[in-house]
């Protein structure tokens, strides 16, 4: 793990949210440019359309061919309209799914870059099966027969992020966030006031450090002091070092080993208690409530 010890360590969760959303941060295509050679972008889901909110393609990394799939945000209003603010529609996820299968067919390791406020929630996306598209991506990643490294480079927004985020290594940039619901959404429900988003951001433990501490992120990637947007090249190089290291580890393993580890990695996520029937006054040996 590479942990930063820059001045950003004193930032609040809400400060990190602002940094994660900064449009000047390195986005997926910046990562690809800094990390890889020979990038060829592939388009289309072969079903319905080509969604610019997800980009993907093949490239070489240290002489090895890899498949890249990532959310893509824009840097200005025009780009963000084209990229739909990085909120994929079902055809974006189905493009991702196609590229996952392509990677598997040819044995290309898969590198995913997560940077989305969430999947597009509009009616047209529902109509074309947003839930199905996300579910199929997740399902495909669970046993895709190539190594997968997912890096949260900005916003990790709920299911729309996880759809390209089931991985052997889950990395987070220091100022990236990963959240089951936007801080604003959480605040509007549990605080009854969206303006309490800073409180919700803290309570949900969405920063890279939090998610790492929860055992879900495998490593945190240091950013330049002031945040990744202040020195994109340095930020990308920092990520590249960590990604290359993990890729090297993973490609050394048999794929069966990788898959078994991936299973265990996700199997272990969750915090609960066992054998506490006493809590409700039920004693061991008593009939269970719903045995009929």
């Amino acid at each position: 793990m590479t942990t930063s010890d820059t001045s950003t360590e004193t930032l609040t969760a809400w400060d990190r949210v602002q940094l994660a959303r900064n449009v000047q941060r390195p986005h997926t295509l910046d990562m690809v440019r800094g990390l890889c050679e020979h990038f060829v972008e592939l388009h289309g889901d072969r079903r319905f359309g080509d969604d610019a909110a997800i980009v993907g393609g093949m490239a070489t990394l240290q002489g090895r061919t890899v498949m890249i799939v990532g959310h893509q945000k824009g840097r200005n209003a025009r780009e963000n309209v084209q990229r739909h603010f990085g909120m994929p529609r079902p055809e974006g996820y189905r493009k991702a799914l196609r590229l996952f299968r392509h990677a598997e067919k040819f044995g290309f390791p898969l590198l995913c870059f997560i940077d989305t406020p969430g999947a597009d929630p509009e009616r047209e996306s529902e109509e074309r099966g947003q839930a199905n598209a996300i579910a199929e991506c997740i399902m495909a990643m669970t046993n895709l027969r190539v190594p997968i490294i997912a890096t949260v480079i900005g916003e990790g927004g709920s299911g729309g992020a996880l759809a390209i985020g089931v991985a052997d290594r889950m990395l987070m940039m220091e100022n990236a966030i990963y959240s089951v619901i936007s801080p604003e959404g959480c605040a509007s429900i549990l605080w009854r006031d969206a303006a309490k988003a800073p409180d919700a951001a803290r309570a949900m433990r969405i920063t890279a450090a939090d998610v790492h501490e929860l055992g879900i992120a495998d490593a945190v990637i240091a950013e330049p002091a002031g945040g990744a947007h202040t020195d994109i090249a340095a930020a990308v190089e920092s990520a590249a070092l960590v990604i290359r290291e993990h890729l090297e580890q993973l490609t050394g393993d048999e794929i069966a080993t990788t898959l078994a580890c991936r299973y265990q990695k996700y199997r272990a996520i969750g915090r609960f208690h066992e054998r506490q029937q006493a809590l409700l006054g039920v004693q061991a040996g008593e009939p269970l409530p719903f045995v009929v």
């Binding site: 999947a119 579910a135 990643m141 089931v166 619901i181 199997r267 996520i269 029937q277 719903f290 045995v291």
Partner: protein, 305 residues
């Protein structure tokens, strides 16, 4: 100790929650869809389908258990209890308090009941969401119980039936709840590996991170008529307070029309449909009923005891 409202071979018989006082048959209930007043007995006899407008009222897990052959259900993993991994507190309430209050009110640990049972003599694993428990939201216990249900089905080479009514992920468990989507999907790969089906029943309401994971990739997807089903809006629906209602288009029928659901099946036909599906999946791979591995029976006894 156990009471059955009704026994109908053709459909199914809701089972009363133990310890719950039986509601007298001469009470009235109001249909939440058409506002008609209905005799409680009539509602029970119709499996909680409004006799006037056919609205399918929500069932709680112990009512769903009536789908199974009488006496066949054995609960598993009842000893799993939620933790509070984030120490989550909002001005409204602390998560730990919310859990405790809900547990006390409902007499159960979390939002999923799971176990093994039979339908027309065919064994299956099943897991049922309880929307009344914090909107059926998916936290660690939900994820672990679904995961174990899938793993158990895989190990025993049994079909898995999931009954899914949930607002989505449980935000009080943060990103841990999100990851349950992946965890349950993982377990389903084991079921697929032994060529056993996952049949998902979508019931009112089914939203967000639940819809966007394991039920949407089930081998067979059945929805209940009129059920609200959708991706977006989940986070709001999952909470009982505030928030907008599901959009008009987020229904079982809409999902069917757009190709995401195999069939919309009235509750009265559900048991027969499941029975037929179990017959079809069992015809080739299972000659008769699969038998339990002795080691597993022991585990079940331990887990159940």
């Amino acid at each position: 100790m156990k009471e059955f409202f009704r026994r109908n071979k053709k459909s199914f018989a809701p089972v009363q929650r133990e310890g719950e006082s039986q509601i007298p048959d001469n009470l009235w209930a109001k249909c939440p869809a058409c506002r008609e007043l209905i005799y409680q007995k009539q509602l029970t006899d119709s499996l909680k389908v409004c006799p006037k407008c056919s609205h399918h009222l929500r069932l709680v897990p112990h009512e769903w258990l009536g789908l199974l052959d009488h006496g066949s259900f054995v609960e598993h993993d009842a000893d799993l209890w939620p933790a509070d991994p984030l120490g989550f507190v909002s001005p409204k309430e602390a998560y730990a308090d919310k859990l405790r209050l809900t547990q006390e009110k409902l007499g159960q640990a979390d939002a999923v009941i799971s176990g093994l049972g039979t339908i027309d003599g065919r064994r299956l694993a099943l897991a049922i969401c309880d929307f009344s428990f914090i909107g059926g939201s998916m936290g660690s216990v939900y994820g672990e119980k679904m995961t174990r249900a899938a793993e158990r089905a895989a190990e025993l080479e049994l079909p898995l039936l999931t009954i899914n009514g949930s607002g989505g992920a449980r935000m009080q468990e943060g990103v841990i709840s999100l990851m349950q989507m992946a965890k349950i999907s993982m377990a389903l790969t084991r079921l697929a590996a032994v060529q056993q089906p996952h049949i998902a029943l979508l019931v009112d309401p089914c939203f967000g991170g639940v819809l966007a994971s394991y039920p949407s990739v089930a081998d067979i997807i059945i929805a209940e008529p009129g059920a609200n089903i959708g991706f977006a809006g989940s986070r709001v629906v999952s909470q009982t307070i505030g928030g907008k209602m599901p959009a008009k288009h987020q229904t079982a029928e809409y999902m069917f029309e757009h190709g995401f659901v195999d069939m919309v099946t009235p509750r009265a036909d559900l048991r027969a449909t499941l029975s037929r599906l179990l017959t079809l999946y069992g015809a080739q791979t299972n000659a008769g009923l699969p038998r339990l591995d002795a080691r597993l029976i022991e585990q079940e006894v331990r887990a159940g005891g």
